[in-house]
Amino acid sequence: MKRYSAFAVAREALRYHTGWERAWRSPAPKPHYDVIIVGAGGHGLATAYYLGKNFGITNVAVIEKGWLGGGNTGRNTTIIRSNYLQDPSAAIYEKARSLYETMSQDLNYNVMFSPRGVMMLAQTEHEIRGYKRTAHANALQGVQTEWIEPARVKELVPIINLHGPRYPVLGALWQERAGTARHDAVAWGYARACSDMGMDIIQQCEVTGVRVENGRVAGVETSKGAIDCEKMGMLVAGNASHLADMAGFRLPMESVALQALVSEPIKPCMDVVVMANTVHGYMSQSDKGEMVIGGGTDAANNYTQRGSFHHIEETVRALVETFPMVSRLKMLRQWGGIVDVTGDRSPLISKTPVDNCFINCGWGTGGFKSIPGSGWAMAELMATGHSPLTEEFSMNRFKEGKFIDESVAAGVAH
């Protein structure tokens, strides 16, 4: 692999950019791999990357039905934070956030990590209490967050209206080293590094069946033929129930649409991420100047990557109260993704009833931020059978009543 560098840019400038090579190979599938990863989203690719980097397992195929990064990884609003309430969440999200800090250097790929700060507004008395509690929990977990008063909110976000008619801004939970990154670049960077280690990323190849022999995974049926494997990881987000069905087990999960939209590009006006969870709206400004806006999920099961218009309307209506300038913005694009929501709003990173078949899903509305930490932990689980980071996220927790309840903590968990 040719490394990207300032020198490489200069060299290519002098020879009309004829020397750039493809970032990853597109090979035909081999009949057998040590590990098959289903789903080339951020989580699948990060898992493959750390299997190679941390455990030297490189006879790996990542199988993707569409194009890599075309699922939720390429559809999210890119918020990265780790200010969760429960200890197991804080551990894995903070691991992920810290890996984001050096990801561009590790991958030799600019993922544009921008630790610009994430602010979660408190707009009711309950939220004040909730976020102060989270700030205390974070202090114990070693995650740096703080409670800030309205005056400081206004200082950080001059365009905010503190005294909205329904929901005044009463303060905020502030995480200074949280922020955003370029979502496509995260997928592309991992894909390039995986391909460089000799792994096969097979796109346009849908897994249509899972072969189980004597209770153990033996391989998959795909639109490009059967492929055998020793171990398999399913990282297909909204399609997890469908994949599990192929392997003969069920999941405590439902798939629903979540939407986002962006405005026309405008001059820089907000250099932090603001989340308003009571009214279900959050916003940041992209490097191109677009205001990136996300809202709440639709209520009913859905696999179409399309959501209902009235949810967008609700989100924007709420944002207009807190950011009056939003009423003047023209919206350019809107899209949806199918998010995988579990009973306690926390992910499953787990062994399954099928031996050597592992699952990582249920990140729902908030799994972009966790990609590197999740991949790190999932690789450890798949390679060694155990990871301290994934222990509590087992799918058995619903039977044992050991929930990792983040729905109360986060309201909407992006």
Binding site: S241, P252, A299, N301, Y303, S308, H310, G343
Partner: protein, 113 residues
């Protein structure tokens, strides 16, 4: 936009009039049930790609609960029916069979097998 006809008041209600109530025809488990029964009842969801049965409430209308049969991959609505039933009526099953021959959902199916 999702439009469901309320089987009680007959209004063709659009989504903002309705509240979603999750999976239909769940069998409830109470005191004395074992772990597996509680687990499946509370958390295990059908989450199918295709034909699905749901509970909805005509929240900003007559206020009543009812059932709907929908397709999660096309968002097509097959029909709505009363909440006072343990299973979809034959008429709804027939409507689904006409469009999705071979369908099945939990213990219900087109009856062809």
């Amino acid at each position: 936009m999702l439009i469901l006809e309320c089987p009680y008041c007959g209004v063709k209600a659009e989504e903002t009039e309705l509240a979603a109530g999750g999976e239909a025809h769940l069998k409830r488990f109470g005191p004395g049930s074992d772990e597996d029964q509680f687990h499946d009842y509370l958390f295990m969801r059908e989450n199918p790609k295709g034909v699905h049965f749901e509970r909805w409430r005509h929240a900003n209308g007559c206020g009543k609960w009812f059932h709907a049969a929908r397709c999660t991959t096309t968002l097509e609505v097959f029909g709505t029916y009363s909440a006072q039933t343990y299973e979809p009526p034959q008429e709804i099953k027939d409507k689904i069979t006409a469009k999705r021959p071979g369908w099945s959902w939990r213990e219900f199916s087109d009856g062809a097998k």
